[in-house]
Every structure is written in C-alpha cells, then in structure tokens.
C-alpha cells in the first residue's frame, strides 16, 4: 500500500476543512482591508436591512454588522486556538505523566480527571465566569484551559499505557535516560495523532463555549466577537423585530467555522484509525466485481 508522508493532503475532508479554516483566518487578518467601518462605532441608523452601504445591515445601535463579523473573527479564532492550545498542553502533560509514571501519581491524576469529567462543564464555567464578572476573551480562554483538559488527559493516558510497553521505550529506560527525556522524546512523538485530535477538538469546544458564555451575558459586551454579537442581538430581540441579519450573521459564521474544524478533526481521526477509512480501494473493488473479474 502506498503511504504518504503528508496523508492529510490526500484526504478530501481534510482539504475542505483546511480551506474553510484558512479562509476564515485570512478574513480575520485582512479585516481592516475588507471594511472601512469601525466595528464598535455607531455608523448608521439602527437595524437597517442589508444594503450596498452596509452589506449585512446594522445592529440595534447602528453598528455595521459586516465590520463586526470580520473583526469578531479575530477574537473568536484567537480565543479558540489559544484556549485549545492550553487545554491540549495541560491534558497531554497530565495524561503522559499519569500513564508513564503509574502508581500513586497515576491514581491521583486519574482521580482528578474523572472528577472533572463528572462535574458538568458549562454550569461550572458559568459560576466561574459569573464571579469574575464581565470576563475578557483572555480570561475566558484561561478558565477554559483550566477546566476542560480532562477528556484529553484520559485519552492520552490510555494511549501512553500502550506506547510505554514498546521496545524503544524499554531500551531507553535500560540506557538510563531521565524520565522527562523519555516522556518528551520517546513517548510524546508517538502520541502525535491523539494530540492532534485533542487539539482540534479542544479548539472547536473553546470556540463554541466562548460563544455560549458570551451569549449568556458573561462576556465583556464591549469586546467585538461572534459571541457578543449573538448576545447583543438576542438582547435587542432581533428575531422578534425581524432583524434577522443581526443574529443570523454570527450564527452562520460560527457554524461555518465549526464545520471546517470538524472536517479536519474527522480526517485526522481517520488517519489515526485506519479502520475508519474507506478510501478509493473500494471503488476499484466494485469496478472489478462489476466487470466480472471476480466475486466474493
């Protein structure tokens, strides 16, 4: 079988997902070039429908929705990737340590992991955010990082347990390499696909959760992000007054980004777990059956 060093390139799901994410990233970076409006300033009459002047209409207080959309992408992406990275680092580190060290350390880490897993995440975040007050995006990223690592830690630990038994780890132990070296240079590289899945999953989770917290009014309303756009629109009863552009814009943006990231996630999953792959060998097989070259 042909294997490529860049398996993601040959995966259609991965390509589509990467294109979507790259597109949103480009929009976020190029925000000042795409619009001349200030996303926070009042630049028009309230709740104007989309027009040439305001491509996606205006909000209740007359801000340009398109400007908020492209600038908001910056916040949502930054928080998503920042928090995702934090979640992954904490989860991977704890998982590897627990799995590799075993014994008491494993017991303690696993106990906490399981505990965090059974305390419902969103309600916990709500309490934390409520006490912090109007949480800035960075504070949200930070508390997400502190509370959402458990799933990653559990999966990484399980995987570490099996990698630990491999010969190269055993031989490194024989040669007396220090533990931290074994964990970073022998074990971690073999967990890359799990870490990748964990990272993308965490980014999705962080983006969704940040938007949810802000929607529920726990964010800083002065910040421009897709979540605060939802919050402001909901508070202005955009739906019941018929200002659909105000609320559907961030909705579709979030859905689009979510789908892009999920496609990437599924693709990485398929690469890590070959059994889930279908690939085009099935097509060749069916063609041979149809042409009567063989049967089952």
């Amino acid at each position: 079988m042909k294997t490529s060093s860049f398996p993601l390139i040959h995966n259609r799901k991965a390509m589509v997902g990467a294109l979507i994410v790259a597109f949103i990233l480009a929009v976020a970076i190029a925000a000042p070039l795409l619009t001349s409006y200030d996303p926070s300033a009042r630049v028009g009459r309230p709740h104007q429908a989309p027009s040439l002047e305001h491509w996606l209409g205006t909000t209740r207080i007359g801000q340009d929705v398109f400007a908020r959309l492209v600038y908001g992408a910056r916040t949502s992406l930054a928080v998503g990737f920042g928090a995702g990275l934090l979640i992954t680092i904490v989860g991977t580190a704890l998982g590897i340590i627990a799995g590799y060290r075993g014994g008491k350390i494993d017991e303690i880490i696993s106990f906490f992991t399981n505990m965090v897993l059974v305390v419902p995440n969103l309600p916990l975040l709500l309490v934390l955010a409520a006490f912090i007050g109007q949480a800035s995006p960075w504070v949200i990223a930070l508390i997400l990082g502190c509370t959402s690592w458990a799933w990653g830690a559990r999966v990484t630990r399980a995987e570490t347990l099996s990698v630990k038994q491999k010969d190269y780890v055993k031989s490194a132990e024989m040669m007396g390499e220090p533990r931290w070296r074994i964990m970073t240079f022998e074990i971690f590289p073999n967990l890359i696909s799990i870490v990748g899945i964990n990272f993308i999953g965490s980014v999705i989770f962080a983006i969704i959760t940040q938007a949810t917290l802000e929607f529920l009014g726990l964010g800083d309303p002065k910040v421009v992000s897709w979540g605060t756009m939802l919050y402001a629109a909901q508070k202005a009863s955009a739906l019941s007054v018929g200002a659909w552009w105000d609320i559907l814009t961030p909705c579709f943006a979030l859905a689009f980004l979510g789908i892009g990231l999920s496609l990437l996630n599924f693709a990485v999953d398929e690469i890590a777990n070959p059994r889930l792959r279908t690939g085009n060998r099935l097509g060749r097989w069916s063609a041979l059956i149809r042409s009567g070259e063989g049967r089952l």
């Binding site: 042909k2 097989w285 041979l288 063989g294 089952l296």
Partner: protein, 267 residues
C-alpha cells in the same frame, strides 16, 4: 480414490489496494476426501487463512476471488450459491474453528444461546430440544452441560476452544475447517484437544482441513499435507511422503529448521 468431498480448483484471491493488488492466494488446487484430515502448512502470511475464509465465503471487500476459481463441495460450486443457499450451506456443511477461537464466542451471549442460534437457524427445533442437543455436544467435549448458562469469560481458554468445537459439531457437518485451532494453547492442552478431535472424527466421520505452521504437529495429525509458500501450493502428498521424501526445496528447508520429532503419531 473415492470422489473428493472438497475440491478446490485454481483458487486465486487478491486483496485490492488503492493502486495495485496483493495476490494472497495464487492458483491453488487440492482435494479433501470424506473423513480425511488434510493439512495446510506454511509460514505466516502465506495465505492459509485466506483459503479457509473462501471455503465458507466469509471474505469481505477488499478481498476478491478471481474468476475461474472454483470451490466444489460434493460437486456443487460454493461460489455459485445465492444468498439463501449460502446461509443454508454455512455450518451445516462446513463448520469452522478460527485462528483465535478464544475470541470467537460472543462475550455477551450465554453459551446456550450461541448453540441455539445455530440450531434455530438451520433446523425446526424447540428450545427444549435445542437444550438437549447442546448438552449432548458439550458432553462430547467433556464440558459439564450444567454450565451452558454461563458466559464465555467464565471458561478457560482451552474450554472455550472445546466449546467452539462442540458448536461446530452441532449440525453434523461434513467438513470442519480448523485454522490454527491450538496456537493460543499450551502444549498439553493442545495435544488433548487434537486427540479429542481425532476420536470424534472417527466416531462421526467428518473431514478436517487443518491449518497450522507447526509442521511437527501436522505430520502427527494429518493424512495428507499441502505446503504453501507466498500464496502458492508448492507441494502436496501424504504425511509420510512429505516427512520422509520432501521434494520442494522449501519443504526441505522447513524440515531442516525443525527439531526432530518427539512423541508418537496421533493418528
């Protein structure tokens, strides 16, 4: 020679890949007479299990049985059976013990249920009759019938193996395919099970297609032997001939690498 029970003719099987195919079985032909034990030996990956799967037509994509292949059981080509006939044919004519028979029992169903599944599918039978039949089969392999309500994990590896053999016997099949039935077991249990199979075979008259890479075991147990190399059947003959006067270089090499035989012949 009597008419063969199983006759494999020009069997060729490919595993279809993304760009090119892998030929796992290459133009293999052999016969198995009624009541005979035919052995297939060869190194790991030479295609033995692929042949075994083909006999009950268990392959799934990407496996492909090439045209001009034929597997005749009593003169009927198994590859031509339609879905319904195939379902009837399976287990009633050919039963099978898998490479890791330890794992071939469904962990969440009671032993009784796994017998009943077979009996119910192939026969008009009541629960009570099925239970009697199950008890009878379990007794044949020395397992107490009152354990039929247990789950697989409650038995040892060797016991599970014997249960699978008992399930194989439930319908009085003509042929039992055994794909390395004893690899997972220790030597003592291995001998015990093979002896038991041999007794049952004498009593019930089924033929066995016996697959292993353990030549020593094979010579003790089989009437005739086929040697496989890289998907091809390179040599076949009686066990004695293969043991005393191997012709193919590969067979000789196999013997050379094999320590001299201990223990009597099982036959």
């Amino acid at each position: 020679m009597t008419a063969p029970l199983l006759s494999v003719k020009n069997l060729t099987i490919d595993y279809i890949g993304e760009t090119n195919d892998f030929r796992a079985v290459d133009n293999v032909s052999f016969d198995v007479a009624p009541g005979e034990v035919f052995g297939l030996a060869g190194e790991s990956g030479c295609g033995k299990s692929t042949i075994a799967f083909a006999i009950s037509r268990l392959h799934k994509p990407p496996a492909l049985i090439r045209k001009h292949s034929a597997i005749l059981l009593d003169g009927r080509n198994v590859l031509d059976l339609d879905q319904k006939d195939l379902a009837d044919f399976r287990w009633r004519e050919v039963a099978m013990v898998f490479q890791s028979a330890m794992n071939s029992l469904n962990p969440v169903l009671r032993i009784e249920q796994q017998f009943y599944d077979v009996l119910r599918t192939h026969k008009r039978i009541t629960r009570a009759q099925a239970r009697d039949r199950t008890a009878e089969m379990l007794r044949l392999v020395d397992i107490s019938p009152d354990r039929m309500r247990d789950y697989p994990h409650q038995f040892s590896g060797g016991m599970r193996q014997r249960i699978v053999i008992a399930i194989c016997l439930a319908l009085d099949p003509r042929l039992i395919v055994m794909d390395e039935p004893t690899t997972a077991l220790d030597v003592v249990v291995q001998r015990e099970i093979l002896q038991r199979i041999n007794e049952l075979r004498r009593k019930l008259g089924f033929a066995v297609l016996f697959i292993t890479h353990d030549l020593g075991l094979m010579v003790q147990f089989c009437d005739r032997i086929g040697i496989m190399l890289g998907g091809k059947l390179v040599e076949q003959g009686t066990a004695d001939a293969i043991y005393r006067t191997p012709e193919h270089d590969y067979t000789k090499k196999l013997w050379a690498s094999f320590p001299s035989l201990h223990g009597g012949v099982l036959r």
